[in-house]
Symmetry: C2
Subunit: 152 residues, 2 copies
Amino acid sequence: MRNQGAGTGPEMEIVHLLRAVAVELGLHSARFANQNGMHPTDVRALIALMDAARAGEEMTAGRLGSALGLNSAGTTALVDRLERAGHVRRVRSEGDRRRVVVEVDQRAVELGQAFFGPLIGSAVDLLQGYDERELAAIRSFLEGVREAAAEG
Amino acid sequence: MRNQGAGTGPEMEIVHLLRAVAVELGLHSARFANQNGMHPTDVRALIALMDAARAGEEMTAGRLGSALGLNSAGTTALVDRLERAGHVRRVRSEGDRRRVVVEVDQRAVELGQAFFGPLIGSAVDLLQGYDERELAAIRSFLEGVREAAAEG
DNA sequence: CCGAGTATCTCGCTGAGCGAGATAATACGG
DNA sequence: CCGTATTATCTCGCTCAGCGAGATACTCGG
């Protein structure tokens, strides 16, 4: 049986630290949401939309909803909210006219970059202080945790 | 001006990886919430309560609410829910009888350990594959990100 | 004691998200 | 082609988490 307890070794300290980082990043997103009259779900949606855009993929209403764990009714309400706020546009897909492609407005992208940019910049600055082997350790640890969390 | 763009350098890759980990950990908590008929806020509350217990501190209703960003009405409703589900007990503070100390039930602790234990164990196992310098790099990077996120 | 301050709770309300089902467009066997 | 199954989104009515306002209960300094 692996270590599951509230041990106090150096490994557990890092595990708690990682959890604390996750909580802190969540609170940071919540601040962004509050400042812009949005809800946590709306922020998660914008992030998913920007990720898709960066990967060059179209994001339909349905894919967005399932990425966030919403049903179709909730997804419609979410896209309504974001569209009313001017953060996204609904575009009927040309190929399949049942589908609604959700596009992020450039203004929303800039809003997000203005808010999250400094934090991302700090993280990049931090990383520039490590050598190859240290960077590889950080990367492989994060990769491993992501895989472990995705399985559960 | 620091790096804010959608750069593709090795640093940005790690930053996106960290964000992905945060998202994945959030989804993992959401699965725990669903499996036990709870809401995300309830899970966050249990985690805050267990953290306080581990630190040997009493958690009052008010402190719990402000840790989660709820007002007093929402906090009362939250503690009502958790108490109804048998996860916590309300105990009037002896010293100051206005205060309500919220205590986690042992059953809830075990429930949480059963669910999060494997993931924590995997992370600890992962960490045992690194040497001192690599562990120090992981720790200091996480510490730095936490501080940067807490400032914003 | 009395009034100010503090911790929690009650009440009424708003709105995010759900289940069920409607609507509209596509796929596909005959 | 036609009819039926399938898929994508939307509409409707509802539940319940969380909010604002204010009530209640306790503490403490003067």
